[in-house]
Subunit: 343 residues, 2 copies
Amino acid sequence: MSDTTHIQLAHGGGGQLTAELIEQVILPALGGPQKTGELTDSAVLDAPSKRLALTTDSYVVHPLEFPGGDIGKLAICGTVNDLAMAGALPTALTMALIIEEGLEIALLKRILESAGRTAAQAGAPIVTGDTKVVPRGMLDALMINTAGLGDVLAGADLGFQRVLPGDSIVLSGPLGEHGLAVMARRKGLSFSSDLLSDCTPLSQPAAALVEALGGELHFMRDPTRGGLAATLADLAGGSSHNVEIDEASIPINPTAIAAAEILGLDLLTVANEGKLVAVVSAKACDTALRVLREYQVAREAAEIGRIVGQTDTGQLPLVEMITKIGGRRIVQMPYGEELPRIC
Amino acid sequence: MSDTTHIQLAHGGGGQLTAELIEQVILPALGGPQKTGELTDSAVLDAPSKRLALTTDSYVVHPLEFPGGDIGKLAICGTVNDLAMAGALPTALTMALIIEEGLEIALLKRILESAGRTAAQAGAPIVTGDTKVVPRGMLDALMINTAGLGDVLAGADLGFQRVLPGDSIVLSGPLGEHGLAVMARRKGLSFSSDLLSDCTPLSQPAAALVEALGGELHFMRDPTRGGLAATLADLAGGSSHNVEIDEASIPINPTAIAAAEILGLDLLTVANEGKLVAVVSAKACDTALRVLREYQVAREAAEIGRIVGQTDTGQLPLVEMITKIGGRRIVQMPYGEELPRIC
């Protein structure tokens, strides 16, 4: 008798077993249509507004489930948030699964149900997908790709080129919770229940910023892999302006600080999955903070720094942090991979 | 000194090494923009026509290079062809790489250059992407996801519900070349140079069919995983009509037939990556064949069968093949995976 509790290679053959997996496990878990007979390889959609955003990310996080989330929730949040950072609301998502032969089907169901719930919460319908199964040992358990199509809000005018000296830099909440929650689970460490991944869709606060600030909102990015350090280094490099942040103004989660010390990590370089960095004109900063703080996920939003002009031409733009004791520290683009498989 | 010829885990960290990999290897190979500083996580596009097609596929083919193609070419063709089958021309592609630590960078370059060439040939710009690196042993070498956004041609009106009894079924060329070329390479068999993967973009012949036939073109699908058997079983199930094909009319590649016999495979279930099945009204069949045969990749297009009404209500729709000796054989949806990692 064939094993009905674990994924078999035959589930990926494009035949009857693939159809059964999609009909009996994947679609019900995601909350989608109920028959593969109605499915084709492409979804056909009415075009949204005049400008579209298109994004893709693969998720390879290990372990698949971690405090505050799992790879399914992450695969929705990460992609929805990339759209949100482009000033776009999600119109449609794709979801492509690569599964290792032998994966427990109950685990797959939990992950897809979590993805389905998160997609519904984010107002992002999953419209098409793909399922591949590879032989045991050829892939670690499960990897997911989601691509996202978004409708760019009319008032959004974002980009490195819009960033100006004097602009304020806003961060929506404390750093490092996603990366630390995953690392703690991976290493079998248990901190207090306060240390959960911050994995969450940011479409609503991001759209609210676009709506409230219009042209005063110049740039948004979610500080995922590489953390705030990578986001700010990109911001400096992309805009050709220096960036200055104040350590004392960065929102903190005391448990995250303790966890980062135990794990030997710099909070500035740890991945977040539910935070945004916004660059806004100085005069719009108070409005930005007020708008963000209306959302539970951004209630600790703070102004953490500013864009400053380059003093010397010919120098590469820098990110500097004014430390709590008044010193200056250069924040560098992380070199490589401190935390493999964090997202 | 760090190894500069193979992918390191640090290439996936979202930091400086990731930027170098993208700037020095990925973007030049794909023929894209030359600076990561200009890149954001989403591409923003002008919306095409009123109807969009959206699709996704992951590619896990093994080996990465095979006679007639490689995973890069395949990742473009497969996704472009899913759009083509929806009556859409490609507007934008995403490309997400998951790379195993230790992959040879020269191999990655060859694959990406092949992808870039194929995308250019298909008129499908790669507008955004993602790169993840996982530790050695967690993934076999390289897997690629491409999602595709397409502009549905005005005249396209396709779907299972449009398939009617009496319609003709057209196949654009001989079966099984992709699956057999990959399997032969995997098993170290060498057939003649005639056995190459048929991997090719089908946007042009598909669009020509839409243009020439308009409402007389009822359905298209590319017979990839599961082969023609899976495509016809889906067609019967989705349309609730019986399907009948004539074995003698199916275009053949004699080398493929020999290879299938040696490998013990049924050509009807072997994957193709450059063929299409079209269901057209009987009166438009000659036009369809004439249009397809103008394209080198479809010069052997043939009418292979027809849609027939169901004789008994309550019975499940069937696919039957009239064999060369005049018998009848039921063509079943393949059960599972005959050929893992074929695409």
